[in-house]
Symmetry: C3
């Protein structure tokens, strides 16, 4: 079964921010009508990323972005003129995509897992692409 790519629109409001998109991904999977398969979430930007992490305590993503900022300092002798080289590196460390299993028409996530869009150089209007691969 062929499926259409879903474009999610995400508006970030902070310079560095994790925005949960689990529900949007869930809706895209439900809309596809696919019962079994996998779902790819792909971020078409080079200073943003996608990750899966805890969505119960908001301090978790706050700690993740804080510590990532310490590991990859914003200024550190970079040559890239736009001044956002740190955001590019964070993008490669966290990654441009995540793939999840689809079972019974929904993403198969662990109890504490949520899907997070990671903004590393905002605020901006962003996109995430959701592609379902069906086994039906």
């Amino acid at each position: 079964m062929k499926t259409k790519t879903t474009r999610l629109e995400i508006e970030t409001t902070e310079h560095t921010q994790m925005v949960e998109i689990t529900e949007q991904v869930r809706r895209a999977v439900a809309k596809s009508g696919v019962r079994d398969g996998v779902c790819l979430v792909f971020v078409p930007h080079t200073t943003a990323a996608v990750t899966i992490n805890e969505n119960a305590d908001p301090d978790v993503v706050r700690d993740i972005t804080m510590e990532l900022g310490k590991i990859v300092p914003w200024e550190d002798g970079y040559r890239h003129r736009e001044g956002n080289a740190a955001a590019h590196l964070k993008c490669s460390l966290v990654g441009a995509s995540e793939t999840v299993i689809i079972e019974n028409g929904a993403p198969l996530l662990g109890t504490w897992q949520g899907i997070w869009f990671c903004e590393f150089d905002g605020p901006r209007r962003r996109k995430a692409l959701v592609k379902v691969i069906s086994e039906d």
Copy 2:
């Protein structure tokens, strides 16, 4: 061809530990009967991850966990009350999934590559999910 998700059970014995699961993944692929396609290994936890790395010299994974512990210190002014924020960040850096090619009914890995479950806040009973996407 529709395939069932295989649930691997992993019992970790250390706080931070890499456990090789290559053989379990290989068995899950063989059991699926699929000759060609891809195989997704997904970790449904937020303080664990999966990676592909050398399985010849055990010092490699020992060095990886040691250095990762230096890069992401266990205590560093985190707010998350459970005290395991570092494990959550490691999870996002290493990643919740890996996808490998299936050729001739087996994962197509490089000579030195093994698939490793990464425990960052053990010891615990953990799971890894193996999902085969068939082209047959």
Copy 3:
């Protein structure tokens, strides 16, 4: 539709280097004849990786490799005898694979995105595997 895995040959010339392989991936997808699906790029090495990042300003990948070298120092009390433990860790941080969407017979990438092979212990002769999963 069943597709063959494409083997890309990459010859790196530096110890640490990012080599763009977007065009080779694009050609592999075109040659497969697949119009819609996904494409997995997999690196079968344990001291190399693949990532997606900016391909407009060459300073971006220069900054990424430079900063990654600061975050994961080449010497840091590692035990692995071959002396390239840092390269192994970089491999797990950046990751052995990337998956992109195929739409209209081509990888669906953002405006600034390129696919990069990451050499962390060169120069060497390397490979990257491209596997297309078709929905056609």
